[in-house]
């Protein structure tokens, strides 16, 4: 074959534009500004929601808001202490169920799961993650509230929240564990470390930050659920630590305040929303700081 000569492809000086170059630059600029503005939009929405909640909710916040229960209409003041206590205790119980179950599932799927059974598990978890939370609420209501326990209770609420958390924990943690390089697993196995100790001592600690992020994500999602709690924990005007009976929660409190026709209660709804956002924000902030320190 003849060598490619200068006659076939025109050699242009660097100062001269290539064909279509101006158009390419223009399209590049437009595309760049488009994707940058969509990225900005995400941040802007968050900023807008948070600042709106702060502006509308701040007037409701005082000391009594954190130390008292809701007052009947007509009385001034009152707070959301029962709702904070209820939300935290239900999240605690839900975590006690969902974190071990979710971590176990994630470890199984990433370290052992192959073949039809693992595919079925993954598919089921994805379906469960996409399940409308009210359906989960109705299910727990008909099973626990109507039959097993026989009344609305914090336990039923926690179970509903756990069902919401399990697929989130297991799928996000599975993805994180898959990111741990096989070289580390092999390095540990080659030292004569048993498989389970390799998982507990090398794989999980390496993925620690991601595991915690997955758990936080599920907590944030569960902490904001309203529909399943209306059907399971119901709500409570009074401070209660008893998970076997109806118990208050922040989302239900927000809902109750918001649907009432009183201006004062609307402000309290915004205040409760601010508290809920702060609780979840604090949880993720604390874990972020904790994991960063531990990363040294």
């Amino acid at each position: 074959m003849a060598a490619v000569s200068g006659a076939l492809v025109a050699r242009r000086p660097l100062s001269q534009a290539l064909p279509g170059e101006l158009r390419r630059r223009m399209v590049d600029r437009i595309a760049m500004s488009l994707i940058a503005s969509t990225a900005l939009l995400g941040c802007a929405v968050l900023l807008f929601v948070v600042s709106y909640v702060v502006v509308r909710g701040a007037p409701a916040i005082d000391v009594a808001f954190f130390t008292e229960g809701p007052k009947p209409y007509g009385e001034e003041g009152g707070g959301v202490l029962p709702a904070i206590v209820g939300t935290l205790s239900m999240l605690l119980l839900a975590s006690a169920i969902a974190i071990p179950a979710g971590l176990g599932t994630a470890i199984y799927l990433s370290e052992f799961g192959r073949g039809a059974f693992a595919h079925a598990v993954r598919f089921a978890l994805d379906l469960l993650a996409g399940m409308p939370s009210i359906v989960i609420g109705v299910f727990v209501w008909s099973l626990l509230v109507r039959q097993v326990i026989g009344r609305f209770s914090g336990i039923a609420g926690a179970v509903a929240l756990a069902i919401i958390m399990i697929p989130i924990v297991s799928r996000t943690v599975e993805e994180i564990l898959r990111l741990v390089p096989d070289a580390l697993r092999e390095g540990s196995l080659a030292l004569g470390v048993p498989r389970w100790r390799t998982i507990v001592g090398v794989v999980l600690p390496t993925a620690r930050a991601g595991v915690i992020t997955g758990v936080m994500l599920s907590l944030a999602r569960a902490g904001g659920e309203t529909a399943p709690l209306l059907l399971t924990a119901l709500g409570n005007q009074f401070l209660s630590f008893d998970l076997t009976s109806p118990i208050a929660s922040l989302p239900v409190q927000i809902y109750n305040y918001a649907v009432a026709p009183y201006e004062d209660w609307h402000t309290k709804a915004w205040g409760s929303a601010l508290v809920l956002v702060s609780v979840i924000g604090c949880l993720s902030l604390v874990t972020r700081i904790a994991t960063r320190r531990a990363r040294l």
């Binding site: 540990s188 030292l191 004569g192």
Partner: protein, 278 residues
């Protein structure tokens, strides 16, 4: 037990014996290994690794040299679908005999990998005793073990002031020596090395090669390398692997390194050594 000093060193020459009389530390019989598919990656490998010698496994890419090495401490079966047939004797015991736990095998036959793989969430100190700690052993004299192993790989002077920093903060060559320290902390009989220098620069490579000649006083070493100069520099014995047209890797020739490189018996070995292919 960790012993300090030279009392554990076995020198066969000192006992007035020649290599031919020495029982191999590792010996394979009809070793055949598959990766999931119907055709084996290596077939019918009969190889001996003599104690306190460095045995190099050389051959072109895809000849199954790494596969063969990974079969020697039962790391091949870690890969999903992988399968092994044949026997591998560690001194007198078949490591593939029923009832032999691979964990026990790997405690006595350590391994160093191509890419340095220190545990990133552990400090340099913790990396050295990682194998002991992760195995659930109570490590009482941790300071001494860490000092001894880091000293043995020539890393002590370089890291003694930053034992608490992460293992991944070291350079590639230092990381690889840390991985060797981690392996010898388990006091293995045999150390397998799978192209331990291929990710390293020439100076780091030189240090590892020096280290190998020191380590073989105490340990038996089998090293896979695609670098023939390296094989001729570090090893006492060389095994040459080659995959035929069926793409199944076989042991073509095995012998003292000097003989393999100067006077090979097989034509194919000579062609490879002289750079006619591969």
């Amino acid at each position: 037990m960790i012993t300090v000093g030279n009392d554990g060193v076995r020198t066969f020459e000192a006992a007035g014996r020649t290599d031919a009389d020495v029982a191999p530390a590792l010996r394979t019989e009809g070793l055949t290994a598959w990766y999931g598919g119907p055709n084996p990656a290596i077939a019918d490998v009969n190889l001996s690794v003599l104690p306190n010698k460095a045995t190099a496994i050389i051959g072109p890419s895809g000849c199954g040299k790494s596969t063969a090495l990974r079969c020697l401490n039962r790391m091949h079966e870690v890969i999903r679908g992988a399968r092994v047939a044949g026997r591998v004797y560690l001194e007198e015991e078949d490591i593939y005999a029923p009832g032999v736990d691979p964990v026990r095998v790997r405690r006595r036959i350590g391994m160093v990998f191509q890419k340095p793989n220190p545990f990133p969430m552990m400090s340099i100190f913790d990396n050295v005793i990682a194998g002991l700690r992760l195995s659930g052993e109570r490590v009482k004299n941790a300071d001494e073990i860490v000092w001894r192993c880091l000293d043995a790989v020539g890393l002590w002077g370089e890291v003694k002031d930053k034992l608490r920093s992460s293992g991944s903060s070291l350079s590639g060559g230092q990381q690889q020596r840390l991985c060797i320290a981690r392996a010898i902390a388990m006091e293995p009989d045999v150390l397998l090395m799978d192209e331990p220098c291929s990710a390293l620069d020439p100076i780091a490579t030189y240090r590892i090669e020096e280290l190998i000649s020191q380590l073989k006083r105490r340990y038996t070493i089998a090293i896979v390398t695609h670098n023939m100069q390296q094989a001729s520099r570090v090893s006492d014995y060389t095994a040459f692997f080659l995959a035929g047209p069926d793409r199944v890797g076989r042991l073509v020739e095995y012998g003292p390194t000097e003989q393999i490189f100067t006077n090979p018996k097989e034509r194919r070995t000579e062609d490879y050594i002289t750079g006619r292919f591969g």
